[in-house]
Amino acid sequence: MKKILVEVDRCSGCRLCEMICSFSHENLFGSSISRITVLKEDIFGLDLPIVCWHCISCSAMEACPVEAFERGEEGLVFVNEEKCTGCGKCLETCIIGAVRLHPERNTPLICDQCGGKPLCVERCPTKALTYIETERQQPKLANQIFEETLRRWGIIA
């Protein structure tokens, strides 16, 4: 299936993706209401957008005590807000930390790929985000990506 992939060296960490996402879904600009969030390590200048990978085996879905996590036809994970109690279990269990709760509604914010045309990808100023078919089942963890990058830059051996 198609996924939003990140090329970490290209990401400038501007977080415009967060603004595009929050506005297109909520009509407001806010980092906490975005479904994509940029992880930063200022000390090395690393930036990494984190967004739901819609894993085949979704640990947040498994952990949800009220089965509010469902999967659509395209294989996308989404949340049935009527079932959700806002317990936050999904937050703790998502392996890449892609789930956050809406600060007011208290329900999980999960990337919906804008219905097949993700705006964050379209408007990314450095083309760090791409939306393509991939065979890979599991996402790489942020720490692993950071480590690989620092090795490539020659900062760690």
Partner: protein, 633 residues
């Protein structure tokens, strides 16, 4: 609390003496007359810090402010101003920084933070939406900028917390210590970090779940798209993306305005070795950007070999790079990166630090400063070891470093030597462009409200050397010729007003002004679409004019007059010795006369005329200045 579009609508007033927080609304009239950011801060410093307050006393106030476009998708970056009375200059202290702190201020629920009084213990402030706390900072005392930022993020358990902090230089009362956001993004100038330290305040940490509403989204997005289109095809887009401002080093060398060996030369024979081009080719690994910005002009470098192998970080920009290369005669790029890193970690203003070192080196080279006076350091041009040692000595006020930790004006007075070559205006050290070869910039240094600085006017158009532009904009062809003196009053007034708007909307001057992406007209349009308040091109120009006049009135109340609006003798009496501006000298009198006339200020005294202030709706200032015994025309 009024809920505005664009703005949060809240001011946090934190009294550190009483450990008390007040939340105040922002009045509509403040918005329509002063816009935000620098405008808000300047208005408040005039109104709330009376004449004669000691900058390092609890009576001084430290203010952070940001603007209406920040924390949205408007693509020109997101900045904040920090303002207080300056301990370095004794007048308006003000500095501005980018990164991600400003946007978080808005998400955390404030447009402006006013810090008053002085805490009894060492503290930092943590703001998380409605929760505003002073937290113990004993464990952070003496920690550098990087360690402090990391520790606070760990303490608060969130890597996304935005931190603005001071380093040891501020704690040791170095008069030009800055406030650093995102580690290497300082509001560096005029000693704002020193003021923060005087309040026993180590840092401000922010995090928030708030969001910003737009008044007219359709119009907002139209302007955003228009601006984006222009940006991507702009001839400066790629050079800025590759080199950021470091591209200026070679340009300045070519024009013969690169301050070399403390302005004794205007070209540097090793310029290529320390250039932005070389940095991009051999050191840079990726780009970074401020919040929401589509020009990622900041770069991450890695040193792969030599003594400093393994060092990496964000930056530097032209000012810091040039400060530790050409200005001090150093041709070792890795050493310059190390020097900038050190200055950042210790929390110093790289421009002033560079001037202090270069000043000492010139004295030493001329035999006017002995090795003994300089703590045994051999202060020869380009002595890298001495440069690094001096940076550390300044930060801990040790030996000779203690003397120059007061800035070059006080140091020269105390030493009783080198007063003539102390390169500052009103106590603020001059930046990295030779005013003799850039007359508009030079006039800008002379009259800027925070002392010698280009960011108050930055009349970049002068670099075009295109007389047709001068004719078109000001009816004077010489206005845009860099070596000409005529028309610069008009030029600088226009650009000062523009910069005041850019600083008050808190967008990036490189994009908004240098790349001309936010002319007055578009500034009015985007402000209107975002906030819902009515703004016109003319109104924007007038707001800029109002801010400049208000800041001038503040300076006047503190005793500044025409005779303070001068450049150091070097620029007025010694012609540029080499390069493409060879022979150029700065004739200040006619330029000041023209400028005051354009401004509507009394040309004898440099005091704004009453009529001018009245026109700008600043009548209350006339009364106040009168009460302070100031005679006005």
């Amino acid at each position: 609390m009024p809920k505005y579009y664009g703005y949060v609508g809240r001011i946090l007033r934190i009294n550190l003496t009483k450990n008390q927080v007040k939340i105040q609304p922002i009045e509509k009239s403040l918005i329509t007359r002063f816009l935000g950011g620098r405008g808000f801060n300047s208005k408040r410093i005039y109104d709330e810090i009376p004449k004669g307050v000691d900058p390092l006393s609890p009576q001084n106030k430290l203010m952070f402010a940001t603007g209406p476009l920040v924390g949205t998708a408007f693509p020109l970056g997101a900045r904040f101003n920090v303002t207080a009375k300056s301990p370095l200059t004794g007048i308006l202290g003000d500095s501005n920084a980018g990164g991600h702190f400003a946007a978080e201020m808005k998400f955390a629920g404030c447009d402006q933070i006013i810090l008053e009084g002085k805490s009894r213990n060492q503290v930092y402030i943590s703001i998380e939406d409605q929760e505003i706390q002073t937290k113990d900072a004993e464990h952070l005392v003496g920690k550098d900028v990087y360690e402090t930022t990391e520790t606070i993020r760990k303490d608060l358990g969130d890597r996304k917390v935005q931190v603005a902090t001071i380093g040891p230089a501020a704690e040791n009362n170095v008069l030009y210590a800055g406030i650093f956001a995102n580690l290497a993004r300082p509001a560096a100038r005029t000693g704002m970090g020193t003021v923060m330290a005087s309040k026993n305040l180590k840092a401000v940490a922010l995090k928030g779940t708030g969001s910003i509403k737009i008044a007219d989204p359709r119009r907002f997005w139209k302007i955003v798209e228009e601006t984006e289109e222009e940006t991507y095809v702009h001839p400066q887009y790629w050079p800025r993306r590759v080199m950021g401002t470091t591209r200026i080093l070679m340009l300045a060398d070519k024009l013969g305005i690169l301050p070399t060996r403390h302005f004794t030369s205007a070209t540097f024979e090793h310029a290529a070795k320390v250039s932005g081009e070389r940095l991009a080719r051999e050191y840079n690994v990726k780009n970074r950007a401020c919040f929401s910005c589509i020009v990622p002009c900041s770069r991450v470098y890695v040193i792969r070999e030599g003594e400093y192998a393994g060092l990496c970080g964000e930056g530097p920009e032209y000012e810091a790079l040039s400060s530790f290369t050409a200005r001090v005669g150093n041709s070792d790029l890795s050493l310059a990166l190390k020097a900038v890193d050190l200055a950042n970690r210790l929390g110093l203003d790289a421009i002033t630090t560079g001037e202090c070192i270069a000043w000492a080196m010139e004295l030493y080279e001329k035999g006017e400063l002995t090795r003994k006076e300089a703590d045994g350091l051999e202060l020869r041009w380009g002595n890298g070891e001495a440069i690094l040692t001096l940076i550390k000595k300044i930060a801990c006020r040790e030996g000779f470093g203690d003397l120059i930790a007061d800035g070059v004006r006080r140091a020269s007075e105390k030493l009783g030597k080198g007063k003539r070559i102390a390169l500052h205006v009103k106590g603020l050290e001059i930046i990295q462009a030779d005013p003799r070869g850039l007359k508009g910039y030079g006039l800008g240094y002379a009259i800027a409200s925070r002392g010698a600085d280009h960011l108050r006017s930055e009349p970049f158009i002068e670099l075009s050397d295109d007389p047709e532009k001068g004719m078109e904009m000001f009816g004077i062809p010489e206005a845009t010729l860099r070596l000409a003196h005529k028309g610069k009053g008009k030029l600088v007034r226009y650009f000062e007003n523009w910069c005041a708007i850019v600083d008050s909307l808190e967008v990036c001057k490189n994009l908004a002004e240098n790349m001309e992406l936010l002319p007055f007209k578009r500034a009015a349009e985007i402000a209107e679409a975002t906030t819902g308040f009515h703004f016109t091109e003319e109104a924007m120009f007038e707001i800029g004019e109002r801010i400049i006049n208000l800041e001038r009135a503040y300076l006047v109340r503190e005793g500044i007059r025409r005779n303070d609006d001068y450049l150091p003798a070097r620029f007025l009496k010694e012609p540029i010795p080499d390069g493409n501006s060879k022979g150029a000298i700065f004739e200040i009198e006619p330029m000041l006369n023209e400028y005051y006339a354009e401004r509507g200020w009394d040309s004898k005294t440099g005091i704004p005329k009453a009529e001018k202030l009245r026109k700008l709706n600043l009548a209350y200032i006339i009364e106040d200045l009168k009460e302070n015994g100031i005679k006005m025309k």
